[in-house]
């Protein structure tokens, strides 16, 4: 039997956000749909790589959320570039263990994922894309969570 956990859980995350707000630098742009949310995030500390930039994150919640991770990507919009980072491909796909089937835990939430991504940007010092970015972006047809990422550089 399908577990319709997603709708209630996403609705409750939304209620919590409406009641308690989000941490600084994270803003819910579109959160009325129970399947797809948009966030704007920015880096709070002055990191020269991202100074003054705002980035847009898209969350897609599948039926099995939160047992399975949400699909989280950066999307490009006017004034919303894809951040440069050794674990973020130029098509917006994010290489973060938390978002993979192995690293995900159902006690994570959209808010906690945003905070992890924010801190991943804050601590970054390399103004570069992942190795093989162009080739990956040209060839990739897979859904992000099914990709077996190779963590080329675990120091980041």
């Amino acid at each position: 039997m399908a577990t319709g956990m997603r709708n209630k859980r996403v609705a409750k995350e939304r209620q919590k956000i409406d009641k308690f707000g989000l941490p600084p630098g994270i803003e819910l742009v579109e959160g009325n749909d129970l399947k797809e949310w948009l966030f704007d995030i920015r880096v709070l500390d002055s990191n020269p790589i991202y100074d003054g930039n705002i980035f847009r994150l898209k969350f897609v919640f599948s039926d099995t959320y939160p047992i399975e991770p949400p699909e989280v990507t950066f999307i490009e919009r006017p004034n919303r570039p894809i951040p440069i980072h050794p674990h973020i491909y130029s098509n917006g796909i994010i290489c973060l263990d938390l978002l993979g089937n192995q690293g995900w835990s159902p006690v994570q939430s959209a808010e906690s994922v945003c905070m992890s991504i924010q801190s991943m940007l804050t601590s970054n010092t390399k103004n570069e894309r992942p190795p093989g970015d162009e080739e990956f972006v040209r060839g990739n047809k897979q859904r992000p969570r099914d990709i077996e990422f190779l963590y080329h550089d675990n120091t980041v």
Binding site: M1, T3, G4, M5, K8, R9, K12, E13, Q15, P66, I67, E68, N101, Q102, S105, P106, V107
Partner: protein, 272 residues
């Protein structure tokens, strides 16, 4: 294959295709061919649930339970039919029985059964709440009438030309009625205000109030249905990622009782 099983499978095909009337009549034929098979009754009950034929659902479930007393599906469908008929106490007790059987047999319907338990608690609370509010309102009206009657009797006893005394009686009566209205109003408001779910009652996976909390090695408790769903895919602790299997889980009885008591008074929280 026996005739009754053939009819049952044909019934299942009709059910899958959304033809519940067709499924109902095929299951009925299967029952005539083999009246002792409990599964035929629960299948027919399932079709009849879809058709909103609550009384026949109940009859089928009861027949099934007389053949097979620990039939999870019969308790589960019975709870749904009784809930639709607003027989809340019976619905809750069958939902809890279905839950107990699911938990004991590691049944995959645990999540669905857990939500029925919550729905029963919520609707039972809402029904009691409605009754309570109606009784309070009736009491308020009656008290008001008594105060008016009291005032009228006192007015009748005052000498006809004593305007000052009449005014005093009216003012006093008015004052009493205001106090009475305020007392009832304050009681109503207090009820509306305390709608907060304590963190300890919430399962961090489904974000629901817990019905059957189980505790892991870290000391953290989760709803049994949620953590089982997680463990089916990843046998790891959600917080530490250490290996964790269903056998490591222990019921958290004190928390279960606390959640039960909380929901008893705050049924709205079953769907906060």
């Amino acid at each position: 294959m026996s005739k009754s099983l053939q009819l049952k499978e044909e019934g299942n095909r009709h059910f899958q295709a959304g033809d519940y009337i067709g499924a109902d009549s095929l299951y009925s034929k299967a029952i005539i061919a083999d009246p002792k098979n409990p599964a035929l009754y629960t299948n027919r009950a399932m079709a009849r649930l879809k058709l909103n034929h609550w009384d026949s659902v109940i009859a089928d479930c009861e027949t099934c339970l007389s053949l097979s007393p620990n039939n999870m599906k019969a308790h589960y469908y019975l709870a749904q039919a009784q809930l639709s008929l607003r027989d809340y106490d019976a619905a809750l007790s069958n939902a809890l029985e279905a839950h107990r059987l699911c938990a004991a047999n590691n049944d995959k319907s645990l999540a669905a059964v857990t939500s029925i338990v919550l729905r029963c608690k919520k609707e039972r609370w809402a029904d009691r709440e409605k009754k309570r509010l109606r009784e309070e309102r009736e009491l308020e009206d009656r008290m008001m009438d008594l105060l008016r009657k009291d005032r009228d009797e006192m007015l009748a006893a005052v000498a006809p030309d004593d305007e000052a005394e009449k005014k005093a009686v009216e003012e006093e009566a008015e004052q009493r009625m205001t106090v009475l209205r305020n007392v009832f109003e304050a009681a109503r408001e207090q009820n509306q205000n305390k709608r907060e779910v304590p963190e300890w009652a919430i399962d961090d996976i489904s974000f629901n109030v817990m019905v059957d909390p189980v505790i892991t090695k870290t000391g953290k408790s989760y709803e049994r249905a949620s953590i089982m769903e997680h463990l089916r895919r990843h046998p790891s602790d959600p917080l530490t990622r250490d290996p964790l299997t269903p056998a490591d889980l222990r019921p958290n009885l004190a928390l279960r009782q606390a959640c039960e008591e909380f929901l008893e008074k705050n049924g709205w929280a079953a769907d906060w």
